[in-house]
């Protein structure tokens, strides 16, 4: 079982967490001004990379807070976790250890 490093609580087993999909997809400030196709992309299109992926995670059975994480989709290793609103850290995937 993975240990996930909650930025607020520290390392906890993965069963305490819930993945909320790709991170850094900001909700448009004024949705009414967004074209249909762009709104469709916002709703449904995701990058789905092979490799490091920025994701939203919720520490639901813990502090109850959302945070962001970089996870390698190949090895399942968490490369970094960081607070919501913080910029995506620049971390090389080799640092990952599952």
């Amino acid at each position: 079982m993975l240990l996930i490093d909650c930025p607020y609580c520290g390392k906890r087993p993965e069963v305490e967490f819930h993945c909320g999909g790709e991170a850094h997809i900001a909700r448009p400030e004024t949705p009414a001004e967004i074209a249909d196709a762009d709104w469709g992309s916002f709703l449904y299109y995701r990058t789905n990379p092979k490799g490091v992926h920025a994701e939203r995670w919720l520490h639901g059975h813990g502090c109850g807070r959302w945070f962001n994480a970089l996870r390698d989709t190949v090895s399942d290793a968490f490369v970094a976790t960081y607070e919501m609103g913080a910029p995506r850290p620049d971390v090389a995937p080799e640092n990952a250890k599952a």
Partner: protein, 1003 residues
């Protein structure tokens, strides 16, 4: 049975503690320290089971957990009565104790005479992939004909018939260093890792005592003393260290992420005196800082015709039975080998009194010092020989051997009479756990084996599991691994003990050379799944080249032993046929568990109500006493209806629904999800998360709120009350409570962190009692203080705080039936008392308790939707006819933009309507499909489906709701609804069926 093959002395058995077990109803004798396998061999019994596919007689191949053949059904506590059998236990690891009852498997009528053995003659039918080839058509034959026949013919043990009566416990542990395996490498590693007295070390081993291979060894010396003395000293040193925990009988079976290692400890199976209630097994979930794998190696069988005859065993296992259990597996032993290590078996067996000769596939020139040692001991060695076949059926009676000429031709054959064969094709490091840890294996040509390559986690391997076989080197490697696990950089530091040089080295042979027709003979590669060399050749000939495909096609390596003894022979055989280097054929991936693990150990105490706890409302006890029939709703247990004597559900629901419309009903709505939204920005938050407008809702007002996902589809609904400027009491559907809270938190934390709002789940804090019906006010009146219940002072869709029965209360004037209604929220602990008071008073007014079924019928009668029943995640507010609840004024709310997407406003979307069957007594199925014309050819176009359907006593007929394409424009049209037997006609109507009389909800 007496013990004719028990040696007069020696062995790690306690001759002062004799015991007996029941084997197929016969008494088997032995001593403490025995396994069932060693007792069988002591009695001269090699035949221990019938094989999986061909029902061939099988004996005991090994002395450890890699045993593929001798599988027994064990009744650990026969005094508990019949049916508790535990199938597929390996005889070699079942510790003997009194009152154990074991039986052999997969034969009928008996082990000796097995009708199923006819499969052996029919074997041309059972070739590789025969399941795929034979049983393809027709499909219905699978479950009716083929599967039952195959299940009866081929199989392992029978599942138990009764519920497992044992307890299983579960434990979490943390340590700095976990050492798996307590052989010489593991013991050395644990000694080194714990030397500072600080590092917490766990040493786990699957056996009943530490020592590993040294338990079988009576000749090696360490620092001049017998090897087992070194083991005893090491164990006592470790025992004395407070930072060390030694766990015998504990198998590490799964290696997961971040050094999470799962182990199962046998706690009571081996104890005849186990106290009542002691757990049978304990699951250890260890989170280790560092792991040392010292898991040893598995011996390879030799592949030749009839190599599966009882009496043919692995060489190291023969040595183990002789030395550890003081049992001579035969009087006339032929050691057939391509490995130096088997010479020690020959020497030890000869020493123990057996007549022994050696047949070595290797040439003399390829042998090491073992050859001369054997010759010096007077053992005949036939070097450069092959084994053509074994003779005998239920017990080996001879071995046909022949020299291999330099040109590869088979020389003159010779039959060696024997009653036991000790074979060795070399060794395979046990890399299972390393592979599970996602480490990368590396093929070592010298070792002819896969060994740990690149680690993926904080672990290292030591000793035989990475191909180090010489005893002194194994101990040195274990010490270095232990030191490295503590973080020491100088892993070579310290002195390493001197030890007797071991006989090491072997020559890989995949299938022994023979002049027999290879397409006719059965030379087994995988003993447990009955896969022969012929099957593997056939698979390759048919085009399967990757080992993963060969495995699946032939099932080699896929039995519960995970191919511990067979994988390398199978791989090597495929590589040989394809003439490719072995790694090019692929490695197999090892998956947990290393050995079979009981379900009981995995789930531990999480059984029955602890597995799936029943969530009960504060009024559940009253409902139970009053005869409620319950149904599960989300995690809750809810009263479905309250039948009176002689009533079925239909009758009870008809009575309950009538009572609500004609007098008053009382309903436990405590399971409603409840969330308090509090803070200066609470109204703004509500405005953004719900479709309705909230800023203008007055304090004390209620509103039916509709919540969408960002994609515009209905997510949840519920009544929301504004208790104060900055405080909302939100209700959600019963099942939706957790996800609605999560949805709200998500937006609050990630999109609008600027909003000053707190969200608190209050579902469990409030009991909710709904009073519905024309007399609801009359029932409530006598108990209320501080609240004026009159229509003028307390209109529909308002909330007031006050007291009911002297208990603080949030009183809602709301209705889910269309009738005059109140929902009494009181602190959960007072729920039952208030309910009882209201129910008693209600007696004067004809009060009737109703359940969820009546609640559903009542709301459907007046056309209220249930999210999750009328909706399925693809339904918009307008589809439900609820666009009036969607603010046109608000610039934005979650889901608003999506409601304007082209497909969301397109013509022809499915809309919620009513359906009235032509036959008023017919209740159509929920989920039934709706079509325009049932005479069209199949597949015909479906225009919608039924979402709710009930018999309504208040309407005097059946009613149904459905989502139908363009439904609201088709009122009055006839459609056709599927039934189990065909179709029935129904007319589209408005999705509301009942006119409330008298004082309605919103009079």
């Amino acid at each position: 049975m007496s013990q004719p093959f028990r040696l007069p002395s020696g062995g790690r058995i306690d001759r002062k503690r004799p015991l007996s077990v029941s084997f197929n109803g016969k008494r088997l004798e032995g001593f403490a320290g025995d396994t069932v396998a060693s007792m069988l061999l002591a009695s001269g019994q090699h035949l221990a089971g019938r094989s999986f596919k061909y029902h061939r007689p099988r004996g005991i191949l090994s002395h450890g957990s890699d045993e593929p053949s001798a599988l027994l059904s064990v009744d650990w506590r026969a005094d508990r009565g019949p049916g508790y059998r535990d199938p597929n236990n390996r005889a070699s690891v079942v510790e003997a104790r009194d009152s154990l009852v074991v039986k052999t498997q997969n034969h009928w009528p008996s082990l000796e005479t097995d009708i199923g053995a006819v499969n052996d003659l029919l074997s041309p039918v059972f070739v590789a992939g025969f399941y795929y080839k034979t049983f393809m058509w027709p499909r219905t034959f699978w479950d009716k004909v083929y599967e039952p026949v195959i299940r009866r013919a081929a199989g392992l043990g029978e599942a138990p018939e009764v519920k497992d009566a044992d307890r299983y416990s579960n434990r979490h542990a943390h340590c700095d260093v976990l050492v798996v395996g307590a052989g010489p490498a593991g013991l050395a590693a644990a000694l080194a890792a714990s030397a500072d007295g600080e590092k917490r070390v766990i040493l786990a081993d699957e056996g009943l005592e530490p020592g590993g291979a040294l338990l079988n060894d009576v000749t090696s010396k360490i620092d001049g003393k017998p090897a087992m003395d070194w083991v005893a000293e090491s164990v006592s040193t470790l025992d004395a260290r407070e930072n060390v925990v030694i766990l015998p009988r504990t198998t590490a079976f799964g290696y997961y992420n971040h050094n999470h290692v799962c182990m199962v400890e046998k706690v009571s199976d081996h104890r005849a005196d186990a106290p009542e209630g002691l757990a049978r097994e304990r699951l250890w979930q260890v989170r280790a800082g560092e792991v040392v794998l010292a898991t040893g190696s598995h011996e390879r069988p030799l592949v030749f015709e009839n190599n599966d005859r009882p009496g043919i065993m692995l060489a190291e296992s023969v040595r183990a039975f002789v030395n550890r259990w003081a049992v001579l597996p035969g009087n006339e032993i032929v050691v057939a080998t391509s490995s130096a290590s088997a010479y020690q078996t020959a020497l030890d067996a000869k020493n123990a009194g057996a007549r022994v000769s050696i047949v070595d596939i290797r040439l003399e020139a390829d042998c090491g010092p073992e050859l001369q040692t054997a010759k010096d001991a007077g053992i005949t060695v036939r070097s450069g020989h092959t084994v053509i076949r074994a003779l005998g059926k239920k017990r080996v009676s001879g071995l046909v051997v022949a020299p291999i000429d330099p040109d590869g031709a088979i020389g003159e054959k010779q039959t060696l009479a024997c009653d036991c064969v000790a074979m060795s094709g070399g060794w395979t490091p046990s890399v299972h756990l390393f592979s599970q840890s996602r480490g990368k294996l590396r093929f070592d040509v010298e070792l002819d084996a896969f060994v740990p390559g690149t680690s993926a986690q904080a672990e290292r391997s030591a000793g035989a599991c990475r191909g180090i076989y010489d005893l002194a080197a194994v101990i040195a490697d274990g010490l270095a691994a232990g030191r490295s696990a503590t973080g020491a950089t100088d892993t070579a530091a310290g002195s390493t003990p001197q030890a007797t040089a071991s006989f090491t080295g072997f020559q890989p042979v995949r299938v022994l050379p023979t002049d027999a027709d290879a397409s006719k003979v059965k030379a087994f590669v995988d003993f447990q799944n009955d896969v022969t060399a012929k099957d593997i050749r056939l698979a390759v000939r048919e085009g399967f080249e990757s080992i993963e495909h060969v495995k699946r096609y032939t099932t080699t390596g896929m039995a519960t032993d995970q191919g511990k003894t067979s994988n390398m022979n199978a791989l090597g055989l495929v590589a040989g046929i394809l003439d490719r280097p072995l790694p090019a054929v692929g490695t197999t991936t090892f998956r947990p568990p290393y050995t079979p693990v009981s379900f009981g150990a995995l789930i531990g105490p999480a059984r029955d109500e602890l597995f799936d706890p029943v969530r009960k409302t504060p009024i559940d006890g009253w409902a139970e006493k009053n005869g409620a029939v319950f149904e599960p709703v989300a995690l809750w247990r809810r009263a479905k209806y309250f039948p009176q004597a002689g009533e079925d559900m239909h009758g009870a629901v008809a009575r309950e629904t009538k009572a609500v419309r004609n007098a008053v009903g009382i309903f436990d709505a405590s399971t409603l999800g409840k969330i308090e939204v509090v803070g200066p920005d609470a109204a703004e938050f509500m405005n953004r998360i719900y479709t309705n407008a909230w800023l203008k809702l007055k304090v004390g007002g209620c509103r039916y709120g509709l919540m969408l996902r960002e994609d515009g589809f209905v997510y949840d609904d519920g009544v929301v009350a504004r208790l104060a400027e900055d405080r909302f009491h939100v209700t959600t559907t019963t099942g939706g409570a957790p996800r609605v809270l999560r949805h709200m938190e998500d937006y609050l934390q990630t999109e609008w962190p600027d909003l000053d709002v707190f969200l608190t789940s209050i579902t469990e804090q409030w009991a909710v009692i709904a009073l519905q019906g024309p007399k609801a006010r009359k029932v409530l009146e006598p108990f209320v203080s501080g609240i004026d219940l009159s229509e003028e002072a307390f209109p529909h869709m308002t909330v007031q705080s006050g007291f009911v029965c002297g208990v603080p209360c949030r009183l809602f004037r709301v209705s889910f039936t269309g009738e005059l209604g109140f929902e009494v929220n009181v602190p959960a602990d007072y729920g039952e008392a208030v309910w009882k008071a209201l129910y008693e008073e209600g007696g004067k007014h004809g009060i009737t308790a109703y359940g969820t079924e009546a609640m559903h019928v009542l709301r459907a009668e007046v056309g209220y939707v249930v999210v999750g029943q009328e909706t399925d995640g693809t339904v918009t507010p307008d589809d439900l006819g609820l666009s009036g609840l969607v603010s046109k004024v608000k610039a934005d709310f979650v889901g608003k933009r999506s409601l304007a997407r082209p497909d969301m406003v397109a013509e022809g979307r499915r809309q919620l309507v009513g359906l009235l069957t032509k036959n008023p007594d017919e209740v159509i199925d929920e989920g039934a499909q709706v079509v325009d014309d049932p005479h069209r050819p199949i597949p015909m176009r479906m225009i919608g489906h039924v979402t709710s359907s009930y018999a309504s006593s208040n309407c005097g007929r059946s009613i149904a709701m459905a989502l139908i394409e363009g439904g609201r424009g088709r009122i009055g049209e006839t459609v056709h609804v599927t039934t189990p037997g065909g179709f029935t006609e129904a007319v589209i109507s408005k999705a509301a069926f009942y006119e409330v009389k008298g004082e309605t909800a919103d009079a």
